[in-house]
């Protein structure tokens, strides 16, 4: 491990060489930044991983069933397990998806599940990302470079290989493909995750396409070439639901494909992840996921949620208002680390304002206990320091539901912060599943 850590600078130089960057818009200007890599890996013993793996498969299986149910029979709403306000008032719920059954019934093909490990060694789910979760490419390329930099480390530690992500993605695309080529559909070069889009296209042997490369005719999606158009069978779209098809969603979108939803509705193309998945990864719906597991699978959830309160319910609202000084309040409409407020950091006046906002719009917020999660060591100018870190696990749903034996560990570089998002200045680590 010493040689690996000694090569921190060289590994980061290698990442720069391969263009491992993410984009960020600030004050209307696009800038690309290198994503700082810390070579001290997060290590998860294989026996702990086995529990995580079962829990993640269980959770994603239930979430897929939930999305199917919401856009078809709505049994879970009728049975009173999930209140209808949380479904139909969610910005992620799309009426346009009602009644559509995607290829092979899979909705969330690539799920990014965010977890933290508590100091009690227990894992807690922080959120589910079922729309366009990004991040797999970073530990994927970092592993290759770390192995190159320090082969002796990987001889000594028995680490599960994670370099098959491209093959897993291809297999998932092939499974739902309706006949035609596989395409990764990107908003373009100035998207924050463009590196990932292009790298995954290379790794999965898919075609990387922008909106002007694709068109729909006779309810069929085609890739526009200099010769004859080529039919697309599966499109892994990295464009948000609302911008995906200007004739169905946001009409001003210039990055979408007109009539894509028609082709999808007709069953002529698999759209990955399925539009409308946002109904299941809404921060308000998160509270109900353990109940979904019980409802659809008849099992207790293996993985716990962070203790969460819904101000929508009177009892929870009272608890939230009484304990706001020690809770974290999240705006359900925000993402990327935005809209997260720690009660302890607010002045008395700010707390009162927040309480009033919650009282006026209780559906808009959730409150969570601040989990005392484990710090992880990182190298900071040659010194080892402890920082907050989370884990994004990737679950791929094709013929089987499968967890990628790795994941993106993101850490905060600020010693006083719990916010680990890259857009907020965080870095990343590789995640090792270590065999005994």
């Amino acid at each position: 491990m010493k040689t690996l850590l000694a090569h921190t600078k060289e590994i980061n130089e290698q990442l720069a060489r391969y263009g491992v960057k993410f984009g960020i818009y600030k004050d209307g200007t696009f800038n690309e930044r290198l994503f700082p890599f810390d070579p001290v890996p997060r290590q998860i013993p294989e026996k702990d991983y086995e529990v995580l793996e079962k829990g993640l498969i269980q959770r994603v299986t239930a979430l897929n069933k939930f999305i199917y149910d919401i856009y078809h029979d709505k049994k879970i709403v009728r049975d009173g397990v999930v209140p209808e306000e949380f479904v139909y008032r969610s910005p992620g719920y799309l009426a346009q998806c009602e009644g559509i059954t995607p290829s092979k019934d899979v909705y969330s093909h690539i799920s990014g599940i965010d977890l933290v490990e508590g100091k009690n060694n227990e894992w807690y789910i922080l959120e589910d990302n079922l729309r366009i979760p990004s991040g797999a490419s970073y530990p994927l390329i970092a592993r290759t470079l770390c192995r190159r930099c320090s082969p002796e480390t990987f001889k000594r530690y028995r680490v599960r290989d994670n370099r098959n992500y491209g093959a897993l993605l291809k297999r998932t695309m092939d499974y739902v493909n309706t006949g035609g080529i596989n395409v990764i559909f990107t908003p373009g070069r100035y998207n924050a995750a463009y590196f990932e889009h292009s790298y995954l296209a290379e790794q999965a042997g898919a075609v990387l396409a922008e909106s002007n490369d694709l068109f729909v005719e006779n309810q069929t999606l085609y890739y526009r070439t200099s010769r004859d158009p080529v039919k697309v069978g599966a499109v892994y779209r990295r464009v948000s639901d609302e911008y995906m098809d200007p004739l169905c969603f946001e009409p001003s979108s210039l990055i979408g494909i007109p009539n894509l939803m028609d082709a999808y509705r007709a069953g002529n193309v698999a759209v990955m992840n399925a539009p409308g998945n946002g109904v299941a990864d809404d921060k308000g719906i998160y509270y109900f996921v353990p109940k979904m597991v019980k409802y659809y699978l008849g099992e207790d959830a293996i993985l716990k949620n962070a203790p969460t309160y819904l101000p929508y319910y009177e009892e929870d609202r009272k608890y939230t208002l009484d304990n706001i000084h020690r809770l974290v309040i999240k705006d359900v409409a925000e993402a990327g680390g935005y809209g997260v407020v720690f009660g302890e950091n607010l002045t008395q006046e700010q707390r009162e304002d927040l309480k009033n906002t919650i009282l006026n719009a209780p559906r808009r917020f959730i409150a969570q206990e601040v989990i005392d999660f484990k710090d992880l060591p990182i190298l900071d100018n040659g010194e080892t320091v402890e920082r907050k870190a989370d884990l994004r696990a990737f679950v791929l749903s094709g013929e089987n539901v499968q967890v990628w034996p790795s994941g993106l560990t993101r850490f905060s570089r600020n010693p006083d912060s719990f916010v680990v998002n890259s857009s907020q200045g965080g870095g990343f680590k590789d995640t090792w599943i270590v065999c005994q």
Binding site: S198, E202, S226
Partner: protein, 222 residues
């Protein structure tokens, strides 16, 4: 998949033109760093030949800003960024290993700008471009893709030679190489330009140069 999208074909073409523009122009300017030790360089003439804005105060300002100013649309740094920008959107076609040489070339431009002796680090930029040429020629299986990049580079080289009046004795041979490569691509050339180039010899007069330059620039409509 055998066919390229129109936008990818366009990107491949401009990738070829920009990398050749960067490396050939850097090679041309190489001697000027030496000339400046003993005398002056005729940068206004250079700007006129390339049809670019002559907005420089003196020799030194030209050699710095024409090469490094990322806000100058005519600078070589802008050319390098455009080269990388086209390469980045072709990762799944040219491969990460090949693309890395373009990243390295742009990083080389940045570090040369910070150096008080830029000629030495600029040598590395040319080295990385040579490595890129070798890498794409060796690593890309698709003959059409390889030859689109080569054709575009050939057009750019011809264009620079004719504009600058440099290596004019190589023009006929460069046209010959371009024609052979073009026949291995899906590019559709302009019939008129093709006729001019096929009957060309090394140019001796400004009029002949201009005629060949127009034919080279209009050979493919991108």
């Amino acid at each position: 998949m055998d066919s390229l999208s129109v936008s990818k074909l366009n990107r491949l073409y401009w990738l070829g033109r920009y990398y050749e523009r960067l490396s050939t122009t850097l090679s041309y300017l190489w001697d000027w760093y030496d000339v400046m030790i003993d005398g002056e360089i005729d940068y206004p003439d250079f700007c006129q030949k390339l049809s670019i804005d002559c907005c420089y105060k003196d020799d030194k300002d030209f050699m710095h800003n024409y090469v490094f100013d990322k806000n100058n649309p005519d600078s070589l740094r802008t050319v390098a960024d455009a080269m990388l920008g086209n390469g980045m959107v072709l990762r799944e076609i040219i491969g990460s290993r090949t693309l890395a040489y373009l990243e390295l070339a742009v990083m080389g431009m940045k570090s040369a700008e910070e150096s008080d002796s830029p000629t030495l680090p600029l040598q590395r930029v040319i080295d990385f471009i040579m490595a890129f040429r070798g890498s794409y020629d060796d690593m890309i299986d698709d003959e059409n893709v390889r030859n689109i990049i080569k054709c575009a580079a050939g057009v750019e080289r011809l264009s620079l030679y004719l504009r600058l009046g440099w290596h004019l004795d190589s023009v006929k041979s460069e046209i010959g190489k371009l024609m052979k490569r073009m026949n291995r691509t899906s590019l559709q050339p302009s019939h008129t330009s093709l006729q001019v180039l096929l009957s060309a010899k090394n140019p001796e007069t400004p009029e002949e140069r201009k005629k060949l330059l127009d034919a080279a620039e209009n050979l493919f409509v991108m």
